[in-house]
Amino acid sequence: MSEKIIDVRNVSKWYGAFRVLTDVNLTVEKGERIVICGPSGSGKSTLIRCFNRLEAHQQGDIVVNGITLHDRMRDVAEVRKNVGMVFQHFNLFPHMTVLMNCMVGPMWIKGVPEAEARKTALKFLERVRIPEQANKYPVQLSGGQQQRVAIARSLCMQPAVMLFDEPTSALDPEMVSEVLETMTSLAREGMTMVCVTHEMAFARAVADRVIFMNAGQIIEQGKPDDFFGNPQHERTKLFLSQILKH
């Protein structure tokens, strides 16, 4: 019996009168790699932003790492400690060096001593292959390097699951591969991951399950081979034909 990291049950969410998520059900098990894709506006980013409550859902339950997400700040903080998130626009702290970006989380949240936080930070910067940039400021790095720092920053918190919100869509084409390689190596090491991405080659190579969303609903999911080789739903076929045409 494997352990559920994220359990989403009948979740719905509205922006005013507009329904962005409709009865979404999804479980993510420990060690599972999930790719969520779908046309823009389909609610995929909103969904994973609900997993660490950057967005609030109005109906249903989301249980992350055994804690049910609701309005209690203490529980939300506990969840965020164990969930790493990588954003489309990196969102590094521009007034801190790369090293400090990676150190502040463990130091201020977990009370890790500075020397130890530095060691951990350097270890993960090594892991994303940019230890030599440790003392630079984020603006001095390329987009790909910044995104890899953002991944290292999340890893320093030793999260139970990593969320990726379109991590490569703001990058130059040349830099996409270095970020994807980093993510692939993470996946190989058994990290639980949920990625919103349009990189279908990455999905095919890494994902255990691909989820397709449209208009706030999960309309199809399956193993990459089935999903890409034999899509069931008309909307999925259309989407895949559009995205794989090039």
Partner: protein, 324 residues
């Protein structure tokens, strides 16, 4: 610095048409003013004879000399490097100002006699009243800004009422209201605390708006990144948002500091012995108003320059993480 274009343009003050225009303008202006009665006329005595009787010829000659000197001056300055240019122009403008002040026939011994007291009593009081007010105003501003950005109705209402009220009344009236109004409620308040209270409340209101706009200028993604790591509101504010908002906040806040230094002169109306109060009273006995007013003006200016320098130093400090 504005964006420096890479196209080299010719120096403006070396263009013949520009120099010629300036020459004509300056010449015309000095032709219109009769300077024969001044020390400039005395200097020109070898050329124009007795200044008082030189008439149009005297004015023509003086205007011509001044116009030639002026144009020569700017053409020569045009050759210097930027830093030298700035220094020379500052120095020349300062000289002109001093020349202007000497026309008042100020009594220097009188100034020398009163200046130490003006500094030890007046300037000292001005600076400590301003410094305490600035400190309190900054604290009010942070609290006010957070309240104005919060979703809590009470906090927002109180903060917006506060900024509206204290930005809406003249500072002079606030000084009177606090000094004369609070005793009516049973709080007897001294002049100095009343002045400090009025200044902090008034400037706190302005600075609330500055801090609010500074905080709002920070990208939403910074909040999201900080919160998703697990930082609470306080930590996010102190360590992530405010440090980034400071470079935006500092230039207008420096403005407020300088402005506060001079607006502290308004508390002189309730009898605080600060610089403005002394400037008005010390010269009264002997009718030497100008001496004291000009000395006080210079003291205000010197302290303002110090504040400007501090501000530019802080701005440079925060420019670090922006360098590529």
């Amino acid at each position: 610095m504005l964006y420096p274009d890479t196209v080299e343009s010719e120096v403006l003050v070396h263009k013949p048409w520009f120099v010629a225009t300036l020459f004509v303008l300056v010449f015309a202006v000095f032709l219109a003013f009769d300077l024969t009665g001044t020390s400039m006329g005395e200097l020109m005595r070898p050329v124009i004879g007795a200044p008082a009787e030189s008439g149009f010829y005297g004015r023509f000659a003086i205007g011509l000399v001044i116009a030639v000197l002026f144009c020569l001056n700017i053409v020569l300055i045009g050759f210097a490097s930027l830093r030298v240019q700035v220094t020379i122009v500052w120095f020349e403008l300062l000289l002109l100002f001093l020349a202007f002040f000497t026309t008042f026939n100020l009594s220097l011994p009188f100034i020398a006699e009163k200046l130490p007291f003006m500094i030890t009593q007046g300037l000292f009081t001005t600076i400590y009243v301003s410094a305490i007010s600035i400190a309190i105003a900054s604290i009010i501003a942070i609290l006010g800004a957070v309240a104005k950005l919060s979703t809590n109705g009470f906090a927002y209402a109180i903060a917006s009422f506060y900024t509206s009220f204290f930005r809406g009344l003249p500072l002079l009236m606030q000084v009177y209201l606090i000094y004369l109004g609070l005793p009516q409620l049973g709080f007897i308040i001294d002049a100095v605390p009343a002045g400090i209270l009025a200044l902090s409340l008034c400037y706190g209101a302005y600075m609330t708006e500055i801090f609010r706009s500074g905080i709002q200028s920070i990208d939403r993604g910074q909040w999201e990144a900080s919160r998703s790591i697990g930082f609470g509101f306080g930590l996010t504010m102190r360590k992530i948002i405010l440090p980034q908002a400071l470079p935006v906040i500092i230039p207008p806040t420096g403005n407020q500091f300088i402005s506060m230094l001079k607006d502290s002169s308004l508390v002189s109306v309730i009898g605080v012995w600060e610089l403005m109060f002394l400037a008005r009273t010390l010269g009264q006995k002997t009718f030497q108003h100008m001496e004291m007013l000009i000395s006080a003006a210079m003291l205000y200016w010197v302290v303002s320059i110090c504040l400007e320098l501090i501000q530019s130093r802080i701005e440079r400090h925060y420019a670090r993480s922006k360098v590529r």
